[in-house]
Symmetry: D2
Subunit: 341 residues, 4 copies
Amino acid sequence: MIQFQCDYNEGCAPEILQRLAETNMMQTVGYGMDPICDHVRQLIREACQAPEAMVQFLVGGTQANATVIASALRPYQGVLCAETGHINAHETGAVEHTGHKVLALPQTNGRISADQVRQALASHFADGNAEHVVQPGMVYISMPTEVGTIYSLAELTAISEVCHEYHIPLFVDGARLGYGLASPACDVALADLARLADVFYIGGTKQGALFGEAVVITNPALQRDFRYNIKQNGGMLAKGRLLGIQFETLFADGLYMRLSQHAIDMAMRIKEALLSKGYRMFIDSPTNQQFPIMDRKTYERLSQSFLFDFWGSVDDDHVVVRICTSWATKSENVDQLLGEL
Amino acid sequence: MIQFQCDYNEGCAPEILQRLAETNMMQTVGYGMDPICDHVRQLIREACQAPEAMVQFLVGGTQANATVIASALRPYQGVLCAETGHINAHETGAVEHTGHKVLALPQTNGRISADQVRQALASHFADGNAEHVVQPGMVYISMPTEVGTIYSLAELTAISEVCHEYHIPLFVDGARLGYGLASPACDVALADLARLADVFYIGGTKQGALFGEAVVITNPALQRDFRYNIKQNGGMLAKGRLLGIQFETLFADGLYMRLSQHAIDMAMRIKEALLSKGYRMFIDSPTNQQFPIMDRKTYERLSQSFLFDFWGSVDDDHVVVRICTSWATKSENVDQLLGEL
Amino acid sequence: MIQFQCDYNEGCAPEILQRLAETNMMQTVGYGMDPICDHVRQLIREACQAPEAMVQFLVGGTQANATVIASALRPYQGVLCAETGHINAHETGAVEHTGHKVLALPQTNGRISADQVRQALASHFADGNAEHVVQPGMVYISMPTEVGTIYSLAELTAISEVCHEYHIPLFVDGARLGYGLASPACDVALADLARLADVFYIGGTKQGALFGEAVVITNPALQRDFRYNIKQNGGMLAKGRLLGIQFETLFADGLYMRLSQHAIDMAMRIKEALLSKGYRMFIDSPTNQQFPIMDRKTYERLSQSFLFDFWGSVDDDHVVVRICTSWATKSENVDQLLGEL
Amino acid sequence: MIQFQCDYNEGCAPEILQRLAETNMMQTVGYGMDPICDHVRQLIREACQAPEAMVQFLVGGTQANATVIASALRPYQGVLCAETGHINAHETGAVEHTGHKVLALPQTNGRISADQVRQALASHFADGNAEHVVQPGMVYISMPTEVGTIYSLAELTAISEVCHEYHIPLFVDGARLGYGLASPACDVALADLARLADVFYIGGTKQGALFGEAVVITNPALQRDFRYNIKQNGGMLAKGRLLGIQFETLFADGLYMRLSQHAIDMAMRIKEALLSKGYRMFIDSPTNQQFPIMDRKTYERLSQSFLFDFWGSVDDDHVVVRICTSWATKSENVDQLLGEL
């Protein structure tokens, strides 16, 4: 069975395993205070053109999201987010577990707009009885979104401007950030993101690392005591250097973007083949997640050889599946898939 | 600089790295639902002689502690624990962050006694105004404790009996469990622990894994929906097989206990040398953490070559340091230390 | 200015003030353990035909909601509720503050249906990846709803059946319960509610008391240690007898329903006058809240003499206002309003 | 049975009941936004000589404590407090329920010292691994303490100075504040408290009101959005004017201090009689709580006519009881007690 159902089916880029082996018996202090972590912090700051940014490493996305959000909000504040946002739909209430409401907004292709954000903020702060309602205290977006779409530079700039007008931070979940940046449709660079967001993370788990997300905090107010929050939320890895080693390998010579590019190349081959064979797409995604609509018979036939993520039914005869590529997707597996479409 | 300051200075047992390399491009489903995790669950159940136990893997100790405790308690309940217990002293309030008070009891050499637990429970439930006070809802102990001591089978049995008499679970933090089990002073076996505790974990991070703790839940009431709690607390690793692979390697052929034994052998060499040279010990520890008292000049001299954990001052002229050995401690480093004592 | 904007504009039924004066210097123990509270508990159990119910008194609605919900749910569970439900829309995230997500469902005239509840539950528990999503652990409805509508006995029975089929409790917020029970459109009796809900409350604050909600818990599992939860949530009134005295006065001889009936009589006079004068109603409410649509000029004219709750704009020329009557509404104020319509 | 076991046995000062009756059918807006609340805010600011202070009314002490503390702390911070402090010992973990650890310090006669606070703060912030430990973010003291003692102006000033040196707020729980201020031993005035504390409250529940605590926030940083916190913690009374009416009555013409003085006069009569009859006192309290040591026979004899709060056993033959006076203590009841001593 060939697995296309997610982008964390395999281990990691072989370069990382090799570097783990090389450094294995080296002795370092714990908790991310070692020289490797310090080095990769510098690499990431340079890649982001954000020399004052704080860079901290967490193990996974849910942990990173809850830690960043709980760290930034006051108790009565909530976080604005698309109703399909990962924190609203797929994290078992991790944000609410820290005491905060997720303020879900209707989404369009996984995105929310600056106008929606402005309206939510304006309407809250115009209300004389605002204290009876959760105060929006942060905006969370995903880039790419949970359905593979991306924000344009203009959209991102507009959201950032609204946030800053209302003095609330913009947080960008970049669990698949590389797959966004590598998309031919993307006009946002890493330095743009660092400039427009107050805090974001560069995903490792889905992007070639064994695990790990690099949280980049450009807003100084959010940097204060952030490591206390990591520890309190159970996110401070004892052997923190494991995160440093992985991100150092990914960022030392451009490996991160090469791996991202591979996933996009594989996804575009699949997308073009699907379109050329007349499949309709549920969402027009320019990144590593593709959402073709199939008739059930095709779906059942393909399911004998391939594992997809079942996304939902369109009608009695048609379903949507998610096909994910990743840094690890083998070209011959794509060949085989295209052959059977 | 040779580091003896903690038991997570190095990477992992080479066998684990090798197994990670072998399985690297294998495709599996995520979140610990893969066949490797299932296999090692079975291995651990067998090692524990607990065929009905649930085994779940978490990344680190603070996360494991907070997840287990928050999962077991009702909102108004707290957890009894030694004042030196890790959850009370070193986790930045992770338990309180989930809404629960840590009910600290005075400790003796890092331990609490069944009598203390009984008195706390009896006194709470005898009080007509009990509802104005946090209800003890769980007992947490560490084995070995934070100062390297261990509970005897008789002590553990007595604590377990009190807990069950009052219908509250006993939770054993086994972050260094192997170093306890391998101690010549220990009369507790893994199966005893599984029989006496309602939930405990087998530490990986400090015991030869890159990271990971295997939570073993023998009490069926605590098994229900436990994986929701893992996810909500940010502890569900996407590539869960990484935890499976590590524990499979450790448990497949006795590697876990061999590594533990090595750390104990190294610790006993250091302890005997210290005692024979007339050093007094702050605590008489039979495990991998040793706490010699040194005069400051000796401490300063040794600190030029060795990194210890500074534990505190005894008087103007004497300090206590913690010397940790681990699965990774090199015999030649111990030789060098003994030479300079 | 005559105030119709809410149902807590005045103090309390004069009988309550008189009884407070009579008992003022009587000495009692605190926290609701006094004989008056015990007596009224018995009165309420009888009124509910629920001889085994626990009755506890809390000061206000938000407190009662958060305490009941936090007390019933496990950490990873959330509460299903209409998107207009008070806990979702007007309590500043009090439920989330206790760690739980409010799972909002689309509403129809303020109500949710048994089918919606069944679908949410069935869909959650059918999902193999359910642990990545908040588990629905309770259903919350308001009776009457936030827009004055009520559930029929058939609707309530159907929701109760779904809840019990899935072994989750049904919680009914009865902040305005009397105004529902007294409505000519209502076929639900207090005993029906006690039979169908696992926990509900009989509102005092909006129904003739100075403050206070009587929480009735019929499900024994929810009774256990409930008073700990009250205390922990800051809801245990030191002079608990104040709540007992108020509810004793309301329930000793039918005062509660007489006061409720008065509010309904006043509301029906207003509703009939509005309809007869050609006003359209935004929602067809059979209880003490009425929602007429007015053109802006009329609204501005009436606002010189009357205070309404501005509910929203319908279009450029029309608005919706909420007109509330209560136990305290003076007939002459209604006369004056009708005169100016 | 004459009750001396607490200071909330009776209703309220008759002047309050009368004022409630006079204002009963007056219509006001809710939630403490009415003119009466505004008026009494001004009275309290004047009494405190704190023209910029925010004054908010909450129903009870546990609620006030949890709301103030949760509002002031960042997630990883805890509150320093005497181990006997009400928040640590008698509130069922209400503070921990909001996610924060209570950092208990050893007490002397219910008090902590500026030196203790300084040491706790200095030791935390000197530690390079501070992020593994809860950060002290506030100091909580009670005035009078839970055992009736008071802080001198010098002690209070010293604690305040340490807090401000470390930029953390000082919070004073004044549930019995009047009984402290009225004590002949007290050299602290209300204005001193307002000057030295960042936030404190003036107790009503135990001081002649039916219920209610007036929270005074002098530190502007703690004023921001405080009402959101009140609402979120279930502490925003719908008929907020009830709190305004009570405190207006207490503060309009000095009633609060007259009632306090009465309680102190009664307590001093009892204390002097006890001392003159040779009773020893467990604690030398200058306020309305007295803690005589009695032999068990005397205790049993007195318990036939009087209700005391049993405080604990001293030895096999002797016990400590708490005798509380209050604004409501009848002189003839004191006479009878003195007659039977």
